[in-house]
Symmetry: D2
Subunit: 369 residues, 4 copies
Amino acid sequence: MRLPAPVHSFASDNVAGAHPAVLEAIAAANTGTAAPYGADPWTARAVGRVRELFGAPAAEVLFTYGGTGANVVALQSVLEPYEAVICPATAHINTDECAATERFTGAKLLDVVTADGKLTPDLIAPLLDPARGEHNVRPAVVAISQVTELGTVYTLDEIAALAELAHAHGLVLFVDGARLSNAAARLGCSPAQLATHAGVDLLTLGGTKNGLLYGDAVVLLRPDLARRARYARKQAGQLASKMRFIAAQFDALLAGDLWLNNARHANTMAAKLAAALGHVPAADVLHAPQANSVFVRVPSWSIAPLQDWSFFWTWDSSASTVRWMTSFATTDDDVSRFAAGVEHLTDPAAHSHPKADAGEVAGAQKAHS
Amino acid sequence: MRLPAPVHSFASDNVAGAHPAVLEAIAAANTGTAAPYGADPWTARAVGRVRELFGAPAAEVLFTYGGTGANVVALQSVLEPYEAVICPATAHINTDECAATERFTGAKLLDVVTADGKLTPDLIAPLLDPARGEHNVRPAVVAISQVTELGTVYTLDEIAALAELAHAHGLVLFVDGARLSNAAARLGCSPAQLATHAGVDLLTLGGTKNGLLYGDAVVLLRPDLARRARYARKQAGQLASKMRFIAAQFDALLAGDLWLNNARHANTMAAKLAAALGHVPAADVLHAPQANSVFVRVPSWSIAPLQDWSFFWTWDSSASTVRWMTSFATTDDDVSRFAAGVEHLTDPAAHSHPKADAGEVAGAQKAHS
Amino acid sequence: MRLPAPVHSFASDNVAGAHPAVLEAIAAANTGTAAPYGADPWTARAVGRVRELFGAPAAEVLFTYGGTGANVVALQSVLEPYEAVICPATAHINTDECAATERFTGAKLLDVVTADGKLTPDLIAPLLDPARGEHNVRPAVVAISQVTELGTVYTLDEIAALAELAHAHGLVLFVDGARLSNAAARLGCSPAQLATHAGVDLLTLGGTKNGLLYGDAVVLLRPDLARRARYARKQAGQLASKMRFIAAQFDALLAGDLWLNNARHANTMAAKLAAALGHVPAADVLHAPQANSVFVRVPSWSIAPLQDWSFFWTWDSSASTVRWMTSFATTDDDVSRFAAGVEHLTDPAAHSHPKADAGEVAGAQKAHS
Amino acid sequence: MRLPAPVHSFASDNVAGAHPAVLEAIAAANTGTAAPYGADPWTARAVGRVRELFGAPAAEVLFTYGGTGANVVALQSVLEPYEAVICPATAHINTDECAATERFTGAKLLDVVTADGKLTPDLIAPLLDPARGEHNVRPAVVAISQVTELGTVYTLDEIAALAELAHAHGLVLFVDGARLSNAAARLGCSPAQLATHAGVDLLTLGGTKNGLLYGDAVVLLRPDLARRARYARKQAGQLASKMRFIAAQFDALLAGDLWLNNARHANTMAAKLAAALGHVPAADVLHAPQANSVFVRVPSWSIAPLQDWSFFWTWDSSASTVRWMTSFATTDDDVSRFAAGVEHLTDPAAHSHPKADAGEVAGAQKAHS
């Protein structure tokens, strides 16, 4: 077997481009002048679509440029600077946003070690009621990611239980929904069921990872939380002047089932990738994918050559595990070529010096390809 | 004369869409997967083009989603939280960004009243050396906008004089270049002359207002100022995951003369608008446009009807002045139709109740159109 | 006439030490152990005295270490990070606190140029209702200093007019009362009249400048504004562990008329100083003191020698004016010696080289003394 | 045995008053006027004493009002807003300062679970080099408390090992020295050995907990770290106007061995308390005190009655453990009376309803006393 030519990257779902329908929507919106900052008909229509999606006709919907910005705007809307956010240690807001939440809101993240990236009532209960007044920050938000950063998906009941406990203690439940569509596809339920009916108070809805060029949304399901939101978006540099182009993309995504089809496709491709890797002797798929990520243990000496061949980030080098993700744009061919490459590069027999350092192996690979 | 049908808005240059070549560049970049966050070939190429434009091969160039974000990232790169920015009272960072600079950097803006939106050595000299140690903030940045918010353009000598004085006192010179291209077009000089050779230390370069869908750039001409910049961009929520699409737009803008042609066209259209309005008896063009904005005094009773007919913001209601802007997309027909509309709506003879309230006049207009 | 020996400094009222009764109160409180952070009987008693002073039995009263801290805690209690404080350009919070308010609250100060350090309804009216939504910060607080930094005192009617206008627009009225006692002494009215009845919503009450070692108070006259205050005080590092010692000082100050007598004495001494300087040919008292500061024009060549002889800060070197302040501890002898020194050092005839540089003059002076 | 009358509180060392010599020093400094903000001879002298104590003649020494303020000023001096502080999960800055560090500096705390409140090279090594550039905060400070919040004391070697590792990775080592004197007393070494020679870069030195009324110090042993410190102190509201009174206290503390004697006495009293509690059957001293705190397991039903009798905070209610602290002011009689009270209130035989609720037991106690 020979190493396939360098392929599609499985590093993340943000390595994909934009869905063609999204580009078409942008081109269609590129007509004449339009009032900036969201006072345009595209924005009005897209806001309506988000409200409909969540069954929340009074929700405040604010489009932002990106996901970190959306999270910051949402959290700023509900946090005092002496308050705290309870989140999993693995939360994107805790590990991947350069402390933007702390920086912008002043709030502290109280991170909780979890088994699978998911908070549970038992895990958060001890943190809900600090006893010592102003000496401690005051928990105000329970923050979960749906899908989680470990690729797991909360069930509706799990979310509802968190919401109930949070509300009983005066906190709100926030969902980082960068991949909410993938969760909806997984659970076979609507965003309304997944968020509004389950007791979520506010969330961000990812667009970029589901086929847009750029654009995410802050959705304040409870309109009483919206007081600060528009100011926060502006102050955070997330208010697009040519807003119609974000809105047109969301309109294209949500007008029909594109959002769901894109997410479903990504999930299906992850399942296929896991299945294909199931046939690779040296690759150990850690658990069946719940959404669009696959976590795999591979020989540690193979990680650098694999990265050299097809870019992805190290996940946990001490455990020799990697994360590979699929997107709306991943094809069957991408999957099979990638699995073939993994098989080749993790096969000790195919390498004269299986424990050689990365540089040498990388050199060897290049000779193969 | 009859009122033309509602037209092209002259509210700002951000009411325009995107230049077709920019959309084509995005479509061309929408191929396969690409490493996110700027580790892609489009970004490398576009960074190179910016460096070339400014004759600054070692400059740190960071693309951002938007202009407020770019300003914040640039200023954060050079400010301590106890420092201050000297800027005109009319600066966009002072009046239009919801105090994002203060919020994100902690720095104070020391705003200076100017005649024409331009700082001068005389105006800033008294602020450069506060005598009272830690009781006062310490000025660290002189911030100018080129083109200014009042539509004026600094000459190369004026910029050099500010740079010289700032440097002599240990400050840096920052340019909010949301419309730097229009200034270059006006002055007939290169961005390198306008910034690098004139002594500017860091700037932002507007893309959105010159034909992009979205995207601006932070340009740290002095690489020694770059230490904090990447962290600041991430923490400010301005690091695009699908960076290739911002980069591809800048590549299209800067590869040839598109940036200059767009700016030149906008400036030309402003001159034409001013000329056309010169024939409108009730419209008083305050001064010849230097770039792409026209400031005009109109009868106060006509402002609301004019806004109702073609959206723009109030500029200075007490002085009965309005600002109208042109863009790369403004056409000769737009200008002549707009001037005709202004003539119609500012003509007392055409209105039976010239001092009627806005609502009534608006109603009357609609009957006319 | 000979130059008196270096004397009492008139640089500020904070150059004084502590009143003996205050030290006695501290010594008396230095008995046994006490619950920290304000849960002690001294604090309960002192809080009661402040409430009584302001006729506001439900007011939230929080002691802080110092004045900058008190201002920050008070303002944080009522400000969102996208809001603004309207204040005179000369306000201590604007010019002397190293932008602590902006830094801690995120809010912007909208500073207004005034004739005499006092805001008026006419001056603030144009700022109360920004028209442009989230592009601008939202004014939320009108901040005045009573006594002002220019030594002027608001009348009850002036405060009431500001309160009425602020409230009509949804803003609150804050008073930086570092020298509120001096204003009460001047006006012959109670703090309750001066603040609570005049419509003030929250204030800080200076202790340090009126005879304490250290200690100021945040007084939220409207208890509904108190929600954030305790957290803000802790987060701002202003929650004293050994709170009983601040409280004991306030108790001593407020138990009888010490606060008023101290302030009255300081005011009286300023009047005496102004009178004594009225006899100095080269010193021009700019206006009759309203509280405990005296603003004087002296020959510019005399300022450095005067500072060298008795420390004070430059006030306005371009206008050749200085500020001298009196305190509870200033004596008649201090005043007459100081006036004699001023007479000596501002007398051109007494100096062979009246335009000599400071160093030379200082040397000459030392030979005189 | 009967319950002793309510006694001295062992809740913390901040429940004590001030040492008489400290009050005398304040009284002695209460003479004439003095330049404010530290430009006075007391401050110069006290700064000299701190430098001498640490054998660091060029150290920047800044007095602050309190400990939270001192920590914030010190950390602000060395942190960028995108950086992080590695600290034990039990650190005072992490659990007891209402996130003042995050709020003021923007930095994130990376808290590490420890066995005994002490960081070790092994615990911090995995955090020193984040691999992902600007997506993560960048660790810049290793922060330890000496004495720790769990009453343990780092040896000189342990500190040196942390310093070496921190420096090798470009981080600085900060010590929260609220109880540094107690550590020096424990280890029988000088502060110079404990900090300067062991590689500490900057620290705070507690005064309040060692006999002052109020006052702590920021000590930047490396003068090159001092650039921001004075501004940070002012901006944090920690610059006392009547600085001479903090300085005079430090002068009294450090002029001879008062600082050491106070700390030694507190430590000795903790040892005596532990010994006395060793005779109480129901009180289980968890480990021999290393400084001035004693951690004890008592019957859970006894905690509320004990608190009702002599105030202290709950430490770990789930483990039924309490923390009792001694101070410079604790006497042998305080210890023996307290131990007797603990014996009485933890004796099941003395209580007819040992599991009665706190209220009932408290009532019963009051009848006893």
